[in-house]
């Protein structure tokens, strides 16, 4: 029996210990916000936080979760940093198809939780594990900076595009 928490809820499971965390979340808990992209920890679509660290859930066996705290996209908006990141994502109109964005937001939240004002190089390092085929990278970067710049959730978006967009949304 493996015991751990997902989004603050205590769980125990006796499924095959080699089952990746991703499929436990998706198929056993029906929590589909965390996405399957590659199955080899190459694309980052499945990123979740385990004890605060970004982890690729597709390649993380459930057995390794014993005693750990898992936070997913479904819950990240309840943390102050996660909320700021999600707000910045909206302000910068980051998403396109949106499929990779759960993972992008989890990686960005992990980064900003540790580093309140990351440099471009630090953003590159933290985010290069997250592939986006729509090519939203520059807006991801802008949103991370917007989130970093916002002292409170109510502060204004940082880029020109976001300010312009504000008028009509």
């Amino acid at each position: 029996m493996i015991r751990f928490t997902v989004n603050g809820e205590r769980l125990e499971t006796d499924i095959s210990p080699t089952t990746p965390l991703l499929w436990f979340l998706r198929d056993n808990l029906s929590m589909t916000g965390t996405k399957f992209g590659c199955g080899m920890a190459l694309c980052g679509a499945c990123t979740v936080l385990v004890n605060g660290e970004p982890v690729r859930a597709c390649s993380m066996p459930i057995s390794a979760m014993a005693g750990k705290r898992v936070v997913t996209i479904e819950e990240i908006g309840k943390t102050p940093v996660g909320k700021k990141v999600q707000d910045a994502w909206i302000a910068e109109d980051v998403v396109q198809c949106g499929y990779c964005q759960s993972g992008q937001i989890m990686s960005a939240t992990a980064l900003l939780t540790k580093n309140k004002a990351p440099t471009d190089t630090e953003i590159d390092a933290a985010m290069s594990g997250n592939i986006c085929r729509c090519g939203t990278y520059n807006r991801v970067r802008a949103a991370i900076k917007t989130a970093a710049a916002s002292g409170s959730a109510a502060s204004a978006p940082a880029t020109k595009a976001a300010r312009k967009a504000k008028a009509s949304s």
Partner: protein, 756 residues
């Protein structure tokens, strides 16, 4: 609103193609929509007292040979619902897969409806003939045409609802409709009476649908043309957006998951299989053979995947493709040395004999996988309602009409018995518009045999190895310059597979053996080139091919714009200046080229080790130019900056348009720098993102997109036209920096050095 009657026109012939549409002049007068009353179907079953506007369009028959459109389902045929609480729900007839139609199509409706934008909700429409593409007569998303074909249709939906709401208010207030106006979700009467749309919806629904509605003059637009944030964004940042792959037992009780063991080479078939090691795996419920492999069905993906890995299949390899990239390269180059089938652009080639100089070049591009982030998937449930059998499908598809027909054939049902719920898709880039409905058909086969609802999921390996690639192509080009360094003649031979030949669309896209998707971008080049002779060899390899974001333009723009750069060099001219000399009759292309050059600081000094390259290309009715600024560091090409100018006619949502150009640049850069599917003895050599890499965050250039303000009356293509010119812009920049001419994608500086 005073009505000015224009010549009545038929809606679906109003925009014969996007290119013509883009050249149309700005409309000076309000447009009268020509939909007749009988085209409208009011459906009241859906709402409790709201207003529902829907209509059937006269079916365009341009693709009539493709397949018989299914009969109308009994599903509500509606584009718009206004609820009592004022919520305005728009049924979006195109697939949302990143390009932003869930925002742009509702913008067209909201503009004419005069509703409160914050009350807009967007839903993806299910498969139904009512949602056919206005130009193509079938429900589909492609050709960068979603906004263009919806332009009049969606505005008319909004204007019709507005007229009915106004009539309802006028009746209530005992005034004439002409005395009323609308603003931000309210009808306002002559005595400053105000009624919200929601309160009028029920009364409006009882009124006759007007024969004629007025559309706004562009100068009065309040929503169209304004940068507008995406309506699908909130659900996509908190994990609640439901993609096809996210269908669970909550939506489809007793849902199972299937993973398929697929053939090792295209064309191989199952000889026999041994499931001994599969049957004991907890959660596995079925092992079923289908046309293209053996599927393991289980309670969860992981059980199905584990079962699939344990399955032993013996394959018939007799009919399997034995294609190898190395051999194909050789044979394609041999073919390219000989003229192929003449295209519509032919000359006798004599002009080159008298040329003072000749520039010869050979280009090669590989197979490319689409690799959308959401792996292909499809959920299927068979049902039996009394004596009525049915089949319900949930999938992100660009091709509902085709898929509905294909699913029906496999299911043994009529198309109208197949319900397709269109799910938002995690990218597609053409892969989800499959002429054979491959990922739909196999899922139906599995669910039919397993007799349980099944969600079939592709692994990334299935996706990369699964075919339907952008075709490999070789081009051989010889261009003669006269003694004044002007182009005297242009001989061009293209070698590659056809998408359309053998498909249901052959009659539509193939003329005299020439698949226009193989030659587009060359034969219709905007450059004024005399004595152009374009021929085509269409090859057969057994490797399935398909459209890939910008289709033929993916390779033809690379070839044309690399050649123009080479010719500028041969003529001793600046690359921008040289191109201008062939664009005198193409003011639109010229303006875009000039804008990109100006905004990039073309000609100004750059830091040491940097250089710029330019390319411009017209596709999908739009024109895009990129200037790329590059360096070479440790033998690797680094793209620092891309400056883009883009003319897409009337820009409906500039915020999304810029995003699409950025997206197209990144997509094209991934192909230019990395994209390469190769085969050896029929086996695809790549399998996942480690050996089929794509651009990542740290490799991003800054991208600045300048949308041309042209005063155009109509929107043209947005999703694809940014992709074609990026590879040649980078290649031309590398040439300016190093003198090495990159003529093979993906770019390889060492190989280019050998070629020099």
């Amino acid at each position: 609103m005073k009505s000015i009657l224009l010549q009545p026109t038929v809606l679906n012939s109003e925009f014969p193609d996007t290119a013509d549409a883009s050249r149309a002049s700005r409309a000076a007068l309000p447009k009268r929509s020509s939909l007749t009353r009988r085209d409208f179907l009011k459906t009241t079953a859906l709402t409790s007292g709201g207003l529902v506007i829907g209509f059937t369009l006269p079916m365009g028959n341009k693709m009539a040979n493709a397949q018989q459109p299914p009969k109308a389902n009994t599903a509500p045929n509606a584009f718009l619902r206004i609820a009592k609480d004022g919520a305005v729900t728009v049924q979006v007839k195109h697939l949302e897969f990143g390009q932003g139609v869930m925002t742009s199509l509702p913008m067209l409706v909201a503009e004419e409806l005069d509703c409160d934008w914050t009350k807009i909700r967007a839903e993806l429409a299910p498969a139904n003939p009512a949602y056919a593409h206005v130009n193509f007569g079938m429900q589909m998303t492609g050709g960068s045409s979603s906004v263009n074909n919806s332009w009049m249709q969606m505005r008319t939906v909004g204007a019709t609802a507005r007229a009915m709401l106004v009539s309802a208010a006028a009746k209530q207030w005992k005034v004439t409709p002409e005395q009323c106006r609308t603003e931000n979700g309210f009808v306002i009467g002559p005595a400053k009476q105000r009624a919200p749309f929601g309160a009028l919806a029920e009364a409006a629904n009882k009124l006759p649908v007007p024969d004629i509605v007025m559309l706004k003059d562009a100068k009065n637009f309040k929503i169209i043309g304004k940068p507008t944030r995406r309506v699908d964004a909130p659900a996509k940042v908190n994990g609640t957006a439901q993609f096809g792959i996210d269908i669970t037992a909550k939506t489809v009780p007793n849902l199972h998951v299937a993973v398929i063991k697929r053939p090792p080479a295209f064309g191989a078939t199952v000889k026999k299989f041994n499931a001994d090691k599969v049957n004991g795996i907890p959660g596995v419920t079925h092992v079923v053979q289908i046309a293209n492999g053996v599927a393991v069905v289980a309670k969860t993906f992981w059980a199905a995947k584990t079962g699939c890995d344990a399955l032993v299949v013996e394959w018939n390899m007799e009919d399997a493709s034995k294609a190898s990239t190395v051999d194909m390269r050789q044979s394609y180059r041999e073919l390219a040395a000989k003229p192929g089938l003449p295209s519509e652009r032919v000359s006798n080639g004599d002009a080159l004999k008298a040329a003072a100089k000749t520039v010869n070049a050979e280009f090669e591009v590989p197979y490319l996988a689409h690799a959308p982030m959401e792996p292909l998937n499809c959920t299927v449930r068979f049902s039996q309602d009394g004596d009525k059998p049915g089949c319900e499908i949930w999938s992100g598809t660009q091709f509902q009409t085709v898929d509905q027909g294909a699913a029906a054939r496999v299911a043994g049902l009529k198309p109208e018995q197949v319900k397709i719920n269109t799910m938002i898709a995690g990218g597609g880039f053409g892969r989800r518009a499959n002429l054979a409905s491959d990922y739909i058909v196999e899922a139906v086969e599995i669910a039919k045999q397993a007799k349980v609802p099944v969600k079939t999921i592709w692994t990334r390996e299935d996706d990369i190895k699964g075919g339907y690639y952008r075709s490999m192509f070789v081009h051989r080009v010889s261009v003669g310059l006269d003694s004044a360094d002007k182009i005297a003649g242009w001989n061009h031979t293209i070698v590659g597979q056809s998408i359309m030949i053998g498909s249901p669309f052959e009659g539509f896209a193939v003329k005299n053996g020439i698949d226009s998707t193989s030659t587009e971008g060359v034969t219709d080049t905007p450059y004024e080139i005399p004595n152009m002779n374009v021929t085509l060899h269409t090859t057969k390899t057994g490797v399935p091919v398909l459209w890939w974001r910008s289709v033929g333009h993916t390779h033809t723009a690379f070839v044309m714009e690399s050649m123009m750069d080479d010719l500028a060099k041969a003529a001793g001219k600046d690359p921008v200046e040289f191109r201008r000399g062939y664009l005198a009759k193409q003011p639109r292309v010229l303006n875009v080229l000039n804008t990109a050059a100006e905004k990039s600081g073309w000609g100004s000094a750059l830091p040491a080790g940097r250089a710029r390259g330019v390319a411009v290309h017209e596709s999908f009715g739009s024109v895009c130019a990129h200037v790329a600024e590059v360096s070479v560091e440790k033998g690797q090409i680094k793209v620092h900056r891309v400056t883009s100018a883009f003319d897409c006619g009337l820009a409906v949502n500039p915020l999304t348009i810029k995003a699409q150009v950025e997206s197209a640049v990144v997509f094209g850069l991934s192909a230019a720098l990395y994209g390469n599917i190769t085969l050896k003895d029929g086996v695809v050599e790549q399998s996942n993102f480690h050996d089929y890499p794509v651009l990542r965050m740290g490799e991003m250039p800054t991208i600045s997109v300048h949308i041309m303000e042209t005063g155009a009356a109509l929107p043209t293509g947005v999703g694809e036209p940014g992709t074609p010119p990026i590879a040649p812009a980078v290649a031309n920049a590398v040439f300016a920096l190093t003198g090495k001419r990159l003529r093979t994608m993906p770019f390889n500086l060492d190989e280019a050095a050998k070629a020099v």
